[in-house]
């Protein structure tokens, strides 16, 4: 038994990595080879798909747009959630617990429900097809999430630290930025990661609220597939490039993420 201990984790990782490997494999093949038959390695190794993505503005602008609204959303979510989470963790006020729970219910509604009202609202105030439109729409589920995660981290900081800082003469803004935020730095990192991730993978709102100027990469991918037949190699390359930003971000917060999960707030 003990000698076969490696077996299950290895199988698990193999099955987990197989689709990713297949995506990577496909991205270096030509479309003809992909459709032609089954092979573990590209017979004609080509980076043509990647070259096309990085040179064709209709492709790379999709990445720029996605990164723009995701970044914007992360900044908005974290900066609005910080004071909100502080209030929930430090003050008792009428209905605080209900409000805190109500935040969570925002995550229970499917985004499709909000697609139509957002579309109509943003069209009428000229926000349609802007990065801000998508960033704001994604706040719908990211701010409640950010408040929940941050509140957990903040409640782990004793209130006496706040008081000691006030007694030392710190004003609230100075205390918050100089003392408090470094203390929950890992929490802010984890929160930013989750905001990034949920915003990055969300497609329905991002697609419905944009047309040309702010079209996200996921939308670019579906359109290309429908107009120029099956460019599978190109799609696979786009897929690989879509995974990379998430992988980079997760690398930086890898040590803190377990803590976020452990607090049961994610």
């Amino acid at each position: 038994m003990t000698r076969l201990r490696w077996l299950v984790p290895t199988l698990y990782i193999v099955f987990l990595m197989l689709p990713i490997y297949w995506l990577l494999n496909m991205s270096f093949k030509t479309t003809n080879e992909i459709l032609g038959g089954f092979s573990w390695f590209p017979a004609e190794f080509t980076v043509e798909s990647y070259v096309k993505i990085f040179t064709d503005p209709t492709w790379y602008s999709g990445y720029i747009n996605s990164i723009a609204y995701v970044g914007l959303n992360t900044v908005i979510s974290v900066s609005f959630a910080l004071p909100a989470a502080y209030a929930f963790s430090r003050y008792r006020f009428l209905g605080d617990k209900h409000l805190f729970f109500w935040l969570l219910t925002n995550r229970m509604a499917p985004p499709a429900v909000f697609a139509l009202p957002f579309l109509q609202l943003y069209s009428s105030i000229g926000l349609f097809d802007t990065h801000l439109a998508v960033a704001l729409a994604h706040c719908l589920f990211n701010i409640p999430l950010a408040v929940w995660i941050l509140e957990g981290f903040m409640s782990g900081v004793p209130k006496e630290i706040d008081e000691t800082a006030y007694l030392d003469g710190y004003s609230f803004p100075r205390f918050f930025t100089k003392i408090f935020m470094p203390l929950i730095g890992s929490g802010i990192g984890v929160t930013a990661f989750f905001c990034f991730m949920f915003s990055w993978v969300e497609m329905l709102l991002a697609k419905s609220l944009t047309s040309v100027e702010a079209k996200p990469i996921a939308a670019v991918m579906t359109r290309t597939a429908s107009t120029s037949g099956y460019e599978l190699g190109l799609l696979a390359a786009a897929g690989v490039l879509t995974i990379i930003p998430g992988a980079i971000v997760i690398y930086f917060v890898r040590n803190y993420i377990a803590k976020g999960f452990a607090m049961g707030r994610v």
Binding site: I161, Y166, L167, D168, I179
Partner: protein, 372 residues
Amino acid sequence: MLELMNVSKRVGNQDHISDVSLRFDKGSLNVLLGPTLSGKTSLMRLMAGLDKPTSGDIHFNGESVVGMPVQKRNVAMVYQQFINYPAMTVYENIASPMRVAGVDGETIDRKVREAASLMKLSDFLDRTPLNLSGGQQQRTALARALVKGADLVLLDEPLANLDYKLREELRVELPKIFAETGAVFVYATTEPHEALLLGGKTAALSEGRVSQFGPTIDVYNRPADLITAQTFSDPPMNIVPMTKSGAAFAFGGASVAVSGELAGLADGAYKVAIRPHHLMLHAPGGETLVQETRVSTTEITGSESFIHVETEGLRWVALTHGVHRVEVGDKVPVYLDPHSFFVFDQQDRLVAAPSQDGLPHEDLASASAGHG
């Protein structure tokens, strides 16, 4: 000078502080003595300005400071928990109040190093607090309170979470260090012998009320009422309901002749309180009241023993020096010496206390030897 005038604090429908009036002079050392939940921390928070009193007024140097933001109060406070800024080094932790006040770098450096050497932290200035032992963390907090040069220094059981040796050491040093700054120094503790060691003045707190405020020795020797006597005694005082008639105090079947102050009291029922180290298992010289008791528990700490006894439905505890060999269930006689009687009337007010020369034991010595 800090002055509390009829200060009360209500949270919900609970009275945390009820009608407290105190006056602390500049440069004085004051002890708030009381058991857990007696309101020490609540009172300190009011003094610091972290909480607002529900009614009453707090004056500092003649000016009302109620509602003044804490940032403007020039108060330093050290908590029982070790509170530092974990993201900063020890150096920056100590420097922090001066940094906020905009003191120049050179002065900061000099003061930080001064305070660090007083608190024996010089070797740890580059570490962060979480990499220090509990004692070092608390000394960091104390150093920060010291450099601030506050007018009011509040220490809320600062040594409660420290180990025995460090506590002894800091307890001696702290009052000296802070006395030099000329601040009003307030120290909260649950331990009577800590109050005695610190000296100064003591305010005995119980259930949010100050039962007595005066020089520590006076409060110890002449507690104004039973509740103060209990606050200032650990383990608790032994209460003996006695009847006085003529020149004798009687309890159970026995009685003892008294003289002096005790003899002058009016006849009637009294509550007599006796400190645990005055409840004797061996007959001392002179007149005593002997009571047969049954041993219910014994605690032996090595240098002293606590013998818990029961008699006539009362529970008493005797503190004796050395290891006493008595078994649970043993019948032992207990000797009550009238020279150690604190006599309270039926309203719990003190009517007679032991005179300071006729005591069976040296009072302060045995109290300060305490059991920690």
